[in-house]
């Protein structure tokens, strides 16, 4: 059996971040979903939110015993329990490049690929919603081709319109509303990922899937 180490760190006086040392893949993300469900039922846990192979716990009160909490989380993780989600598939039309995708060429430069190959690799894959966050309705997706891995931008943009398709590291996604971003933006989509008057307000949940279809390409 593989020996795994995990870390528990503070996000605030009322929040912790649990980070198991594990590969970034769907199998491990399914274990995160499982312990999120478990931890959500612990007393005093207000919310348990999956991140990208990590877990955030928000508390009503300042946690009393971090060591006990750490052991509980380790035990839940080490149990290997996993949550399989039969998610829906959402097809999203994308306009790659142009004004809405100002960093498409930067991504080609950073990856050593042609713009066409960046678009092909990005739109061929089927992505799984690993986590929902950053802003309302935003989906962190797993399934990016490793050849498209890029660093975050050193200076974040202060505002990027909703519907912007971006990538950074091994992650990609479409913004659900206008806001700041430190990622590389390569296209735009027209989808309402969050509607406060809809129930549930967020269009997708962890486990749902997305496929990007190129509608247009502006080099």
């Amino acid at each position: 059996m593989q020996i795994e180490t995990s870390r528990l760190s503070m996000l605030g006086s009322h929040a912790v971040l649990f980070t198991p040392d594990c590969p970034f893949d769907l199998a491990h993300q399914q274990r995160i979903w499982a312990i999120a469900d478990t931890a959500a039922n612990w007393p005093d846990v207000r919310e348990a939110i999956p991140g990208m192979t990590n877990l955030t716990l928000l508390f009503n009160d300042i946690p009393q015993d971090l060591d006990a909490l750490s052991s509980q989380l380790d035990a839940a993780w080490d149990s290997g329990m996993s949550k399989l989600v039969e998610g829906t598939l959402l097809e999203v039309g994308i306009h790659y490049g142009g004004e809405g995708g100002p960093h498409l060429e930067d991504v080609a430069d950073m990856t050593g690929l042609s713009v066409q190959d960046v678009i092909r690799l990005h739109s061929e894959a089927e992505y799984t919603v690993y986590a929902v966050g950053s802003h309302a309705g935003y989906c962190y997706l797993g399934g990016l081709d490793p050849r498209l891995e890029t660093p975050r931008r050193k200076v974040p943009l202060t505002s990027l319109p909703g519907g912007s398709l971006s990538l950074a590291g091994m992650q990609t996604g479409v913004s659900a509303s206008a806001g700041p971003s430190g990622w590389n933006t390569i296209g735009t989509a027209d989808v309402k990922f969050f509607d406060p008057l809809r129930s549930p307000a967020s269009l997708l949940r962890p486990g749902d899937r997305i496929k990007f279809n190129p509608l247009a390409v502006t080099p």
Binding site: I49, P63, G133, S177, P180
Partner: protein
């Protein structure tokens, strides 16, 4: 009704925030200075978290279309009711036709204007706070502007003290220009910063830059570099987290914080000290003071004791006032 005659950008309706939607990626919003919001409501006898106006800039002016009671807390702002200067942290009566003027801030960064029963706006997803990024909640999901008419949720009581009431807040008065001390916990990547960076972070001052708003404050001070770098997987973040992007200058996430992020985190400001940032302005200096969970608990107890003392004193005074009638 209260008509907004003039108001600078970025004034919003806020309550204590929207909980339990982190899983949908929806942040809390809510007052940048929850202490000032709660005290405004306390002086009026409202529920602690009733919706109020949060005014981050001046000048602003309002007209009362009928007799109302209202409270002003937060920044010292040279407020006047018609020509009569009003004290900071005050609640009292306005007659129909009177105008409230909020002038330049002399101390503090945000004024809270509360009305009886709270501002009457719909509750959406458990709160009346304005969610600026998602454009819902508060007053029509947007920042307030001249011509907007705000309605108090309740008719004012006939027995509100005609002279008005105020509270003294030695603990909350921070002279302009003094360094704001924020108690903080080391966060996940704390130990990956160089010794020089850590010494600087916990001892030097950081200035709030003009690139600061309800989402967060960008700071400027000694550059913070890490011994080992590498992209982090995106993870939960909350108001108070201090991130350090590649440029080496920290960002503190605040009330309109994102729910997830990926920059290295050096520290996390404890909840009990976040209101201090709500009253800070660009140009103000901050210093981070390292604490632990015991320190955070004791800070929270101090805050609760302050609130219960104020609430008891307000109640005792009200009983006496009613005794005179």
């Amino acid at each position: 009704m209260i008509e907004i005659l003039s108001i600078p950008p970025l004034a919003t309706v806020q309550d204590l925030g929207r909980d339990n939607h982190w899983f949908q990626g929806l942040g809390r919003a809510g007052a940048m200075d929850p202490v000032a919001l709660k005290l405004a409501n306390m002086m009026l006898g409202n529920e602690a978290g009733a919706a109020t106006l949060e005014i981050p800039l001046s000048p602003a002016s309002f007209r009362f279309s009928e007799d109302q009671v209202f409270a002003l807390t937060g920044a010292a702002c040279g407020a006047r009711l018609d020509d009569v200067p009003l004290p900071r942290y005050w609640a009292g009566l306005a007659k129909a036709g009177q105008e409230l003027h909020i002038g330049p801030f002399q101390q503090g960064g945000r004024v809270y204007l509360a009305v009886y029963g709270g501002v009457d706006v719909p509750e959406i997803l458990g709160s009346r706070s304005t969610q600026l990024r998602e454009s819902f909640g508060g007053f029509e999901g947007r920042i307030l502007r001249a011509g907007d008419i705000l309605k108090p949720a309740l008719t004012p009581p006939a027995d509100f003290p005609s002279n008005g009431v105020s509270i003294s807040l030695p603990e909350l008065s921070q002279p302009r220009g003094e360094t704001i001390e924020l108690r903080a916990l080391p966060a996940a990547e704390h130990d990956s910063f160089t010794d020089i960076a850590l010494t600087a972070f916990w001892s030097e001052t950081y200035r709030i830059t003009p690139q600061s708003n309800r989402q967060g404050y960008r700071l400027h001070g000694p550059e913070l570099t890490r011994d080992h770098v590498g992209e982090l997987r995106s993870h939960g973040i909350i108001p108070g987290i201090v991130q350090v992007p590649g440029g080496g200058q920290p960002i503190i996430q605040l009330a309109d914080s994102a729910t997830m992020g990926g920059y290295p985190k050096i520290a996390a400001v404890i909840s009990a000290d976040l209101w201090r940032l709500g009253q800070a302005l660009p140009g103000d200096s901050l210093r981070f003071v390292q604490t632990d969970l015991d320190g955070a608990r004791s800070a929270e107890r101090d805050m609760q004791e302050l609130f219960s003392t104020l609430a008891n004193d307000c109640k005792a005074m009200k009983r006496l006032q009613q005794g005179w009638r």
